[in-house]
């Protein structure tokens, strides 16, 4: 029957007998006539009867042309752009007309517009968020004048040029004397201070610095002054504080300069307040005191200090580095302590952030792929739209609009969508910035010299977002424009424009499905590899038991780190007070907590062994100081010998505990218990220490690091200015935090307890630099999977709706539901399959970029890759099964009647 129906708009034009009528009116009347015909047929009338009903409706039709012309009704969404004026202005005017037309068109399709904008907002927002982190770490200049001239100065082992280390005072002083490349040089050491006397005691991070630091950085204090050259010498108790501390602790009082506060129990005069933009080294550092070199510092082998310099104007980085290397080589030849070493510089802007570059760029790559998937989805939506709008395009083409004009119209719509998506994405990124900042590891949150993250709105981020949005808009507009290129206006008009599914069109759709699946495979593979990698890492035995272990940091003022303990009774006090706290199973204390990143090292002399000829062969181990009970608290068994006791006091014979690795390295076939070692070199006046225990190895430097030699000394015999109290409870460790804190306060009212945390947190934080990309990649891959499934579902639904008549006929001719489902799903399997293969190949290439981020997982892990392919392939097939099933279960009569 449908074959007998005339093409209604042609039919109506014929009845107008050449009278002019706007296309919109013809459209509207055609719809009316179509409805009349449809309801007549539906009510059981014959074609002839329906046609005569239409004849009745169309009585006096030419009167409509007069009435329509007279009313010249205002149309909004359907107004065609004005005919273009001449020349270049013509193009511009035409495009701005397209924009206006596009805005109206999109406003008239709110559902489509909302879905497209939201999809884009997700993709663009994720890109903006990651870019804003990259911007903060790598693109923004440091907050100092001419920051490109600031460099870090380091020593390094010639065999390990990529692993520079901190400098000793004598070497730095030689650099300063011998170098000519630098305008200023400065040296500093990070410390923690107990701040007391003028208000509640609190612990603050800070550093001792040489006077040249402030002129080198080029920032003046907002109040008072900084250090004078003579204040580098010991005995000057003056302090410069941060703007944040001045505000929080001193209420920004203007007369702060000249006030006296107490640092580590000694009076210090506040001489200056730095401006808010002064962040050195990171935003948790608040006090700066003079360097005041001491006797320990004077050891050329004692590498304790960070150092930096400002290049003279006109001196290049390379020239300065070459000069430093020459000086370093000279010093290595002159001083035995420097053998095998040299000196170098790195950009100050790289400090603490350079190593994260591959991670962040991998994340940016992943979000770029997610955005591409979002693009494909929007392209699909636009394709479906433009198929439905073929008639509109055909009419415009018939009225003389070239393909270029219509393409420009499509592009305008795409750009409007993209810009709206970009703005929404920016809002999303802005809203999520604080959340993202918390998800980042402390190394990024407190990156050196950088202010807090979490505010993505700076010009560069804005530019990036809108550039990405514009690019996105052009990209997804290509799909309907390509679809347009294959369409034939005349054919479309004749076909009524409702079945836009030409061969080229479905080919394009298949391509989009394939691309979408391929991109999703890559993102999911990256996430899968990271998840497996972190899983492997978590499975590594750290060598200790983190359960129910609570930690509290405490400072124990100590001028000379390695000198005799000032507070000789600390361990005994701890024992006395903590024994009284109910619910504790074990307690102890350690100077350098495993997995926290803290460490110190000392060279040793083994009794009865000659000093090695080669400096690299000098024995040594990581150095820790503990109170009795530490090993039991962390569940580290002593495989030989004993733990320290309160009897290992200051005046008792010197004792030491070593780890298994140290025992194996230095006493491979003998029992180390009872052997003697001495810290320092052969001439050192240090006492001989007896090995009394061997502790099991702990992965102190991280789950992904090798075990190194470690040695432990009892606090009363060794001391350390910073100690972590460790307690193990039978219950939730945070529940005993209050009583433990009270107990510690009884030991010393002036020593604040800081950073109360569970050992579990330390473990979690230690894998943070691997965990955060895994978390973010997991989120991104979830979005990618969702978008891909929605995309496949959308395309198949659309294709099914376009072919509903064919399916209806097939079913009327006896096709069974299963056959129809198989046919529909079968046609989408091909592009999905091609997408999976392409994605697999892409994942093999892309995952190589992840190599450095992975732990004991190869980038080509077959299990991960095949799981991803199965997961995505399965989801895509299910996504196409749903509309196929729906199409196959409708009543064929209903489908056919819809014609």
């Amino acid at each position: 029957m449908p074959d007998a129906t005339p093409h209604w708009s042609t039919f109506i034009r014929a009845r107008l007998r050449g009278a002019a009528l706007e296309e919109d009116v013809i459209d509207e009347v055609s719809e009316h006539v179509r409805e009349v015909y449809r309801t007549s047929i539906a009510s059981g009338q014959s074609h002839q009867e329906a046609m005569s009903a239409i004849e009745e409706e169309m009585k006096n039709l030419p009167a409509l042309t007069r009435a329509a012309a007279a009313t010249r009704r205002q149309r909004t969404a359907a107004r065609l752009p004005l005919p273009p004026p001449a020349g270049r202005r013509r193009l511009l005017a035409a495009f701005s007309g397209d924009i206006v037309y596009g805005v109206r068109g999109l406003a008239s399709r709110p559902g489509f517009t909302a879905v497209a904008v939201l999809t884009l907002a997700l993709g663009i927002g994720a890109n903006t968020a990651i870019f804003s982190v990259i911007n903060r770490l790598y693109l923004q200049p440091l907050p100092f004048p001419e920051p490109q001239r600031l460099v870090m100065t380091w020593e390094y082992q010639v065999e390990e040029p990529d692993n520079p280390f901190i400098v000793s005072q004598p070497n730095w002083e030689d650099w300063q004397r011998q170098s000519t490349s630098f305008e200023h040089m400065a040296i500093w050491e990070l410390l923690r201070f107990n701040l007391a006397g003028d208000a509640e005691p609190e612990q603050v991070s800070g550093m001792r610095v040489s006077h040249g630091l402030f002129p080198m950085l080029g920032l003046a204090p907002q109040l008072g002054r900084t250090f004078r050259p003579e204040e580098d010498a010991p005995g000057h108790q003056v302090v410069v504080i941060s703007d944040a501390l001045w505000r929080s602790r001193y209420g920004a009082r203007p007369d702060i300069v000249g006030q006296v506060t107490r640092l580590n129990g000694k009076p210090y005069e506040i001489i200056g307040v730095m401006p808010p933009e002064f962040i050195f080294e990171h935003r948790r550092n608040h006090v700066w005191v003079p360097i005041a070199f001491n006797a320990t510092d004077a050891d050329r082998g004692s590498h304790s200090f960070r150092a930096a310099a400002r290049l003279k104007r006109g001196v290049s980085f390379e020239i300065a580095r070459a000069e430093m290397q020459a000086i370093g080589s000279r010093l290595a030849a002159q001083h035995e302590a420097n053998s095998g070493e040299s000196a170098t510089i790195t950009r100050m802007s790289d400090l603490g952030v350079a190593y994260l570059k591959p991670t962040l760029y991998a994340l940016l790559g992943a979000v770029a792929l997610v955005l591409l998937i979002a693009c494909v989805n929007v392209a699909n939506l636009l394709l479906a739209q433009s198929a439905a709008r073929q008639r509109e395009f055909a009419i415009r083409a018939a009225l003389g609009a070239g393909r270029v004009r219509i393409a420009s119209q499509l592009l305008a719509e795409g750009l409007i969508l993209a810009i709206a998506g970009g703005a929404a994405g920016l809002a999303l990124a802005w809203a999520g910035a604080a959340m993202l900042d918390r998800a980042l590891p402390p190394s990024i949150q407190f990156a050196p010299y950088r202010a807090a993250g979490g505010a993505p709105l700076d010009p560069l981020v804005l530019t990036f977002t809108f550039a990405v949005a514009a690019l996105t808009g052009i990209l997804f507009s290509l799909a309907p424009i390509m679809g347009l290129a294959g369409s034939q206006p005349a054919l479309t008009m004749r076909a009524g424009g409702e079945r836009g599914g030409t061969a080229r069109f479905s080919g394009l759709r298949g391509l989009l499905v394939g691309v979408e699946v391929a991109l999703a495979v890559i993102v999911l593979a990256a996430a899968g590899l990271m998840i497996k990698s972190v899983g492997r890492l978590i499975a590594v035995d750290p060598g200790l038991d983190t359960r129910n272990v609570l930690l509290m940091d405490m400072a124990l003022p100590q001028e000379d780190f390695y000198g005799p303990a000032v507070r000789t009774t600390f361990c005994a006090d701890l024992e006395r007070e903590l024994s009284a706290v109910p619910g504790l199973v074990h307690h102890g204390a350690i100077s350098h907590l495993p997995l926290s990143g803290a460490s110190a090292g000392r060279a040793i002399v083994i009794e009865g062994r000659p000093a090695p000829a080669n400096r690299a062969d000098i024995p040594g181990a990581a150095y820790r100081v503990t109170c009795p009970g530490y090993f039991a608290t962390l569940g580290i068994p002593l495989v030989r010998g004993r733990d320290f006791t309160q009897a290992d006091a200051t005046d008792a014979p010197g004792v030491i505990i070593i780890n298994e690795k140290m025992a194996q390295d230095y006493w491979p076939n003998t029992d180390p218990i009872g052997r003697h070692i001495k810290l320092g070199d052969a001439d050192s006046p240090n006492p001989w220490l007896t090995v009394v225990g061997v502790a099991r190895d702990v992965r102190h430097f991280g789950l992904d690091s090798d075990v190194r030699r470690e040695m432990f000394r009892p606090y009363p015999q060794a001391a350390w200015p910073q100690i972590t109290i460790t307690v193990k409870s039978g219950v939730d460790p945070l529940a005993v935090a209050g009583p433990v804190r009270e107990a510690l306060r009884r030991i010393d009212r002036d020593q604040p307890v800081t950073r109360v945390r569970a050992m579990q947190e330390v473990l979690a934080e230690s894998i943070g630099s691997r965990r955060f990309p895994m978390l973010l990649l997991s989120v991104f891959s979830g979005v990618a999977l969702l978008l891909a499934v929605i995309g496949v579902y959308g395309v198949v639904s659309y294709v099914v709706s376009q072919r509903s008549r064919e399916i209806g006929i097939r079913m009327a001719l006896g096709a069974r539901t299963a056959q129809v489902v198989k046919m529909v799903v079968g046609r989408s399997v091909r592009p999905i399959g091609i997408g999976l293969v392409a994605g697999f190949a892409g994942a093999l290439l892309a995952s190589r970029l992840l190599d450095t981020l992975l732990y004991e997982v190869t980038p080509h892990d077959p299990l991960v890759l095949s799981t991803i392919v199965l997961l995505l392939g399965g989801s895509a097939v299910v996504a196409s099964f749903v509309p196929a099933r729906r199409a196959a279960t409708v009543d064929p009569l209903v489908v056919l009647k819809e014609e």
Binding site: D24, E28, H32, M58, L64, R75, S108
Partner: protein, 112 residues
């Protein structure tokens, strides 16, 4: 339109249209069909009378038309009442009620 009733009713047909699009947007065919159905076939509009009336109402700002298209479907023009249209409809209703009330008192014509 107006074929079966006197010309004085002709302008009042616009009230019927306003009333029909008062609660929801409708397309032209639906409006014509509903007027016919609800008047029991007494009022019948042809294309040549229905659409000029709609365009007139739209030009006056009593209704507004909007093309609506869904993916895979033809676009249709839906009309909905405007704030101005509502005001006009309300005042028409009052006037008609007064008029019918008057008729019923004077000529014994019952309000339907």
């Amino acid at each position: 339109m107006g074929d079966k009733l006197g010309p004085d009713v002709k302008g009042s047909a616009e009230i019927l249209v306003l009333a029909l699009v008062e609660d929801r947007a409708r397309h032209g065919y639906e409006i014509g069909k509903l007027i016919e159905e609800r008047s029991g076939g007494v009022l019948k509009f042809h294309i040549a009378s229905l659409y000029p009336m709609l365009y007139r109402l739209e030009k006056r700002g009593h209704i507004s038309g909007r093309w609506v298209e869904k993916a895979g479907q033809r676009r249709k023009r839906y009309y909905r009442i405007t704030a101005e249209g509502r005001r006009v409809l309300a005042s028409h209703r009052t006037r008609w009620e007064e008029f019918i009330h008057a008729l019923s008192r004077v000529a014994g014509i019952r309000h339907a």
